[in-house]
Symmetry: C4
Amino acid sequence: MEELKKAVYEANMLLPKYGLVTFTWGNVSQIDRSTGYFAIKPSGVDYDKLTPEDMVIMDLNGNKIEGKYNPSSDTPTHVELYKAFPNIGGIVHTHSSWATSWAQAGRGIPCYGTTHADYMYGEIPCVRCLTKEEIDGAYEKNTGLLIAEYFQDRDYEAVPAVLCKNHGPFTWGKDGHEAVHNAVVLEEVAKMAARCETINPQVQPAPQELQDKHYYRKHGANAYYGQK
Amino acid sequence: MEELKKAVYEANMLLPKYGLVTFTWGNVSQIDRSTGYFAIKPSGVDYDKLTPEDMVIMDLNGNKIEGKYNPSSDTPTHVELYKAFPNIGGIVHTHSSWATSWAQAGRGIPCYGTTHADYMYGEIPCVRCLTKEEIDGAYEKNTGLLIAEYFQDRDYEAVPAVLCKNHGPFTWGKDGHEAVHNAVVLEEVAKMAARCETINPQVQPAPQELQDKHYYRKHGANAYYGQK
Amino acid sequence: MEELKKAVYEANMLLPKYGLVTFTWGNVSQIDRSTGYFAIKPSGVDYDKLTPEDMVIMDLNGNKIEGKYNPSSDTPTHVELYKAFPNIGGIVHTHSSWATSWAQAGRGIPCYGTTHADYMYGEIPCVRCLTKEEIDGAYEKNTGLLIAEYFQDRDYEAVPAVLCKNHGPFTWGKDGHEAVHNAVVLEEVAKMAARCETINPQVQPAPQELQDKHYYRKHGANAYYGQK
Amino acid sequence: MEELKKAVYEANMLLPKYGLVTFTWGNVSQIDRSTGYFAIKPSGVDYDKLTPEDMVIMDLNGNKIEGKYNPSSDTPTHVELYKAFPNIGGIVHTHSSWATSWAQAGRGIPCYGTTHADYMYGEIPCVRCLTKEEIDGAYEKNTGLLIAEYFQDRDYEAVPAVLCKNHGPFTWGKDGHEAVHNAVVLEEVAKMAARCETINPQVQPAPQELQDKHYYRKHGANAYYGQK
């Protein structure tokens, strides 16, 4: 559990390092699938005052197991994603500027090039706004359920990111660190896609065969990028 | 009074830290409501030469109570805002780049998402330019009066920011520190709103129920964000 | 002369500090009107290797008086500006990103707000491209002559900046330091004007009376900004 | 060979210094034409863990001569460029944000000003996407062949940069360091060209005589910029 808190602390501290958060607008969690416990950033605590001990341990029923602080207010979203996506081990939420601009615009991010295709297979979706009933009810839980529903018949490992309309992005990965990595990729991809549309308003997504090539160069049985 | 000067000095030093000022283009004040005195940055003094002792103490009649320097030339605006908004304790003025771009464009900033709604309830208004008479007269005082007039029948605590057309933003809060916090929020929100309109020129404001949810998640009797 | 070299060295080092230069793409000079000598950055020398001793001393006939290096290739432009503008003491040339984007676009920068009006009175002009004859001849000298001609019947002290079409900006001031200050103002103003036009494509310049107010609040007999 | 590895290591470390890479998204190589060996960054190794010893030595048949790591997955592209461009000594590939945005937009970068003309003669081309057959085959090698084919009847020394559609830029130079320098120029030029088109959608390329002037001021027998 100390190890989990340390890992989640370190992953959280990467958010300001990569310029993905202003103030406390972001959080990382990581789960230990053997116990079903996950650690998450406390709510509204400044990054420069954060310590590993401040991380809050939760279970997948939303009960606090350990920690002096309240967990992030987005905790119920994390719970639903861990329940729906059995192969993931870490989740990130931020209000990073470019990804949030796309979320506010209500548009998914088309795959315009290999930077995107290297990590995410196809368009990064923007899920609809919650209804008034969903918002007035268990808002954060419903956010998780909506994302889970969207990916019900889609490959959440191939597209480890989503935009929530009028809100911002969630990303995930095999652990908190990889989820942060995907949050950085998403922000970079969101920035270049917006600029690319300004440079050429008629731009089309990259050809499917190029997307396939780059994605599978890094993923799956025939991957040959890196040192494996 | 020493404490007040120190608090105002520290709040002023946050402006360059958060990238909100170039040269001397900004100022923070904070008021002690028990005495009616407020401390404010001196006019045109470089941030890297500023000390707590340089802060100027003023009263709400615009008289200098203490200090070797002239107060910020925007002091009469601060005076009018303190008189009109009894619940505030701090005021910030900057020429921060994105907020000023909206002010120059003469447009209020629509609420496109939860980052905005978390701190500011509804559109951030852009008040009209002053008339020739108002400009040629007591310009800075009239700037304050115009803002006060705009908020006469509106909730200045729920919308702690305003854009002055062809000029730039003012923000406020319970003290100087919170006013700076709101200035950072405003700049971030202004940036994302501009990008969001480029990504989707037909974008509409976030649904009212989502704005309500996020605002009241952080404000009022039923708030549940953070550690309270 | 040592003092002049030191002042020019320090002013040059402000260019990378304020993010106005990439590599060696900029230069500052300052003149001693009593001798008619001016010091200028050597051509193509890296900023992080520069020392005060490297500055080159020139006279207004373009003769090198002292220095082991060649002066900036833009030296003949500086000469013409010093000859045409008797009240200036320093000149800056950069390829700073936003100002150069306006220069490439071939447009002057309208005065959209008080940030601009505080330092520069009215539109910052973009002078025409040189003709083939002017380019093939004494190109750098002709650049200076063109700027001088533009300002022949205009107030070069009230508008201490110009854009050269398809090239970049020159700014000036009472000394090298003030010329750098104006280069920073220009870049900030150029950035906000571009963003402002994106936010509101129908935007109009700030009302004349507001431009007057801010400019004369800082300049001339009735100025009241700052500590004088 | 140690010297080569050191030079390539240092050139690679300039990429994060100049903000051209996120994570491991870039690589520099440099060739020793006397042996035909070149050194290149290993694939997928973090920049902050890189040492000179980690550089991989390759020959122009694509055989690894020395090194514990796999070379960059883009190595076959480098091989083809070294074979096609006998006068170059260094190559850079990045996914730098502005250049990649143009590549994704599928547009070459017009020469809008002297910043561009100082280093690159005319439009920076964007070569077509590879066909499905070229992608499914020897993708990285075919990328190099396509670039080589484009420059078959063009001057690759006068235009030391290319954009690969839906992918990103390659630049080259007399060694790795100059290739990095050109990558920085390209990014700056790409940024200003995009902004310039936003400021003036009808903008035209700089007059040919101005492009000639600036290019030949720095290149060829009559160059007079700098200290030579």
